[in-house]
């Protein structure tokens, strides 16, 4: 029987280091962590452009006061879809893609612990997003109640309510499976000598993030399922007329939503903690403090959710509790910022593209953190809440924070993936053009919010015209700049003739750099023997 079992035949085939034959066979049925990592990264890049196109519609309509291009309901559709696509389609899959590619190589494992589930967790995603996008062509259009889907407004939608909720269920299942896989891999498949407190910080950040995902995505699934039954099965979880409570949805949603914010930033912290020591040629300052700060931020993320809803009318004690809790987050986050700066102090610095993005991350993420401290102050938040000040805040932490870290990671590891060096000149053009335009795009939005412009409005008073125009120009510029990013990647993968060495960067440390470039299709089939100095910046004994 065994002789004719095709699965066994396939297994012996893989051991000989051959890739599967044929395009479909290779990509659709792959269980290889590198292939799946590539799929995730390509998918998230595509979604980055789709979500970006939605943002371009928003900035074009807001270019001038008056309605010029789209109806307000379509504008609301764009803001809702932009949020959903960027969060669930661009940022999260990009981090999962990086985890798939890098975690096994960083801990000396041959693959992810659960490779078939890995395939499934990726291939759910394209179908989930096809379903989400299909709502835009249905009667009544796509979701228009914002990515947060607050009832009762979200329940006023048409067919899109069911379809978008099912697509969120699918995205959630995909993420939970990805998180299970990552935890199983990190806890079970480390090479001998790779103790927990010697792991690279990127691995630590993903271990903690994966626990956050498992904890909160079921909560989101529950919240949207209650929306579904309220809409179609006559329940009244959130319907005041039936004895329900619209504010309860917000509590449940943000119990997911706040840890979700850290799901999108902790892996970014991990990336920056790899990149800065490499280009400073100096070990990461305060490795243990960095790991404990990650854990501390993750814990705090569970007890601060209601700072997204200070204006719903919570009792005084509730508002105070969530204000103090939120302010506490500044302390571990500050430790991280100070430690990155101190890592650079006394180093031997060079500024290749990954380092440029990492340095911009430290500065611009801090600015997003500063507005975050202001937002924590409840009386001031009564003014800031639901204005463009908040829009500026979370785009500083998610675009110049999470997205810049992803770009740093792509430039940092691309030579390891492709075996070729990217064009440093065009990488730097991409960086500088992004860094300037993104500030032109988001900095004036602080002013708009403070001056009195609410978020999610399709049209505005003429007093807000000037800064909106500046912001829109920055937006178009930033959007176009990302075409350079694609150009650099395509050039590096398919056309670059400059071979990358195994170590790639002069200051790089860690198991992934002991492999040749490009990394072979199967790596660490035998666990590596770890010798002194071989471990990454997480090696405290060094």
């Amino acid at each position: 029987m065994a002789a004719v079992n095709p699965a066994i035949h396939q297994d012996t085939h893989d051991i000989h280091d051959h890739k599967p034959h044929g395009f479909l066979h290779r990509w659709l049925f792959t269980t290889n962590h590198k292939d799946i990592g590539t799929l995730y990264l390509v998918f998230s890049l595509a979604m980055f452009f789709v979500g970006g196109a939605f943002a371009m519609v928003i900035r074009a309509e807001l270019f001038q006061p008056g309605m010029q291009l789209v109806q307000p309901e379509f504008f609301n559709e764009m803001t809702s879809m932009h949020g959903l696509v960027m969060i669930f389609g661009a940022i999260m899959p990009a981090f999962v893609g990086l985890a798939n590619w890098m975690l096994p190589m960083m801990i000396g494992a041959p693959d992810m612990a659960l490779p078939r589930m890995n395939n499934w967790s990726f291939w759910i995603l394209p179908f989930a997003f096809l379903m989400l996008f299909s709502t835009m062509f249905m009667p009544g259009g796509g979701p228009q109640g914002g990515w947060t889907m607050y009832p009762p407004l979200a329940l006023q939608g048409g067919m899109n309510v069911a379809f978008s909720i099912f697509s969120i269920h699918m995205m959630g299942i995909s993420s939970i499976m990805g998180a299970i896989n990552i935890i199983a891999t990190i806890l079970n498949m480390r090479a001998p000598g790779m103790d927990l407190l010697r792991m690279p910080v990127f691995v630590w950040s993903w271990l903690i993030t994966a626990f956050l995902l498992i904890a909160v995505l079921p909560v989101l699934a529950g919240a949207v399922t209650m929306l579904l039954t309220d809409k179609y099965f006559g329940t009244s979880f959130f319907n005041a007329a039936g004895g329900g409570d619209p504010v309860m949805y917000q509590h449940i949603f943000w119990f997911f939503g706040h840890p979700e914010v850290y799901i999108m930033i902790l892996p970014a912290f991990g990336i920056v903690s790899e990149v800065i020591p490499t280009f400073s040629r100096k070990p990461l300052f305060g490795y243990q403090a960095m790991v404990y700060a990650l854990a501390c931020i993750a814990f705090l993320s569970f007890i601060v959710w209601a700072h997204h809803m200070f204006t719903v009318g919570m009792p005084l004690g509730g508002n105070l509790f969530f204000m103090y809790g939120t302010m506490l987050i500044a302390i571990p986050t500050g430790v991280k910022i100070f430690n990155w700066v101190t890592t650079m102090w006394g180093g031997s610095l060079t500024f290749e593209t990954p380092m440029l993005f990492a340095c911009a991350f430290v500065i611009l993420f801090s600015i997003g953190g500063f507005s975050g401290v202001s937002l924590a102050l409840v009386p001031a938040d009564f003014q800031y809440h639901d204005t463009f000040f908040v829009v500026a805040h979370f785009h500083y932490v998610l675009v110049t924070g999470a997205a810049f870290a992803i770009m740093a990671a792509v430039y940092y590891w691309l030579p390891k993936w492709s075996g070729h060096m990217y064009s440093e000149k065009w990488g730097k053009v991409h960086f500088w053009s992004s860094a300037i335009s993104v500030n032109l795009l988001f900095f004036p939005q602080h002013f708009l919010g403070l001056a009195g412009m609410p978020r999610r409005i399709a049209d505005y008073n003429v007093a807000f015209a000037e800064f909106n125009m500046i912001s829109s120009i920055g937006g178009f510029w930033f959007g176009l700049t990302q075409i350079i990013f694609v150009g650099v990647i395509v050039h590096c993968v398919f056309f670059s003739r400059v071979r990358a060495t195994g170590q790639v960067w002069e200051g790089s440390h860690g198991l992934e750099w002991t492999l040749p470039s490009p990394a072979p299709y199967h790596s660490f089939s035998e666990p590596p023997v770890i010798t002194a100095g071989m471990l990454a910046h997480g090696d405290v004994s060094r």
């Binding site: 309605m67 291009l69 607050y150 619209p246 500044a330 031997s348 500063f370 001031a380 009564f382």
Partner: protein, 270 residues
């Protein structure tokens, strides 16, 4: 100026004692962040220039200092306490809605506001009306209207989308309590010059208060996404000296009996 002007880049100080204190807290937070930013970014830029490999910098190998890490854990704690103290005091004061002389019930609808002067100096007033986007703004804001938003004026102010047919008339120097709710979906009632916003949620009655110090016209709008015309449900307060307000209230009361059916509208519960 109280209402948004071109190139405005900061929060208005507003026209009440509370709004002034909100502004002061906002500026305190800003200066604390500015101070931290100045120190951290200066150190970072010095490092970026001084420790460049191209300038011959050789990397050191130290990677830990318990003393330093303790210092930069404690300093932020002290700074945060400096912010938390005035924030807590202000929040307690903003929460104290007792002893108001005027109570106005605000109800959010898609996409207009209903105002009900529930009680003034312990007496029921019976005055209530609906406030919607002014007709001229509504004409200009239609897609492809070809009309210039700059042309919409209320007195001298370029009031596009910040003007209404029936403004909310309020007295100066009187403690006013608002009870805020909604009839269909969530809205939020926000006039920046009062220093706060409050969500209007169906099935829930929130409250908030203000005491306006200066007569004038103060503009705001709905601040919680409420569907198609979320951008088009402004709020305008006309703050009058107490005597003029009482005059206005009396004239509305006299007219109220005859027009009650019209102004309260269908579906209003009372």
């Amino acid at each position: 100026m109280a209402n948004p002007q071109p190139w405005d880049w900061n929060m208005p100080k507003g026209v009440s004692g509370i709004s002034q204190r909100v502004y002061d807290l906002h500026m305190l937070g800003f200066y604390v962040c500015l101070g931290i930013g100045a120190v951290v970014f200066t150190i970072m830029f010095i490092a970026m220039f001084r420790f460049r490999k191209s300038r011959g910098a050789v990397a050191e190998t130290w990677a830990h200092s318990t003393r330093l890490e303790t210092v930069w854990t404690i300093i932020p704690i002290l700074l945060l306490m400096m912010l938390a103290w005035p924030a807590t005091r202000l929040l307690i004061d903003m929460n104290d809605v007792g002893d108001a002389d005027l109570t106005v019930k605000v109800t959010g609808f898609q996409w207009r506001w209903h105002y009900d002067y529930v009680e003034y100096e312990k007496a029921n007033t019976g005055v209530a009306f609906i406030s919607s986007l002014a007709a001229e703004s509504n004409r200009v804001r239609q897609l492809g209207s070809g009309l210039d938003p700059h042309s919409v004026k209320d007195e001298d102010y370029a009031s596009y989308l910040l003007d209404v047919d029936n403004p909310l008339v309020l007295p100066v120097g009187v403690k006013i309590r608002f009870v805020i709710t909604a009839d269909d979906v969530n809205h939020a009632w926000w006039v920046p010059t009062l220093g706060w916003k409050q969500d209007a949620i169906p099935g829930i009655v929130n409250d908030a208060w203000t005491q306006i110090d200066e007569p004038g016209t103060y503009r705001g709008q709905c601040a919680e996404l409420c569907g198609r015309d979320h951008a088009f449900m402004p709020i305008v307060i006309r703050a009058l000296p107490k005597a003029e307000f009482e005059q206005w209230l009396a004239s509305r009361k006299a007219g109220a009996a005859s027009t009650a059916a019209l102004v309260t509208g269908p579906g209003h519960r009372g």
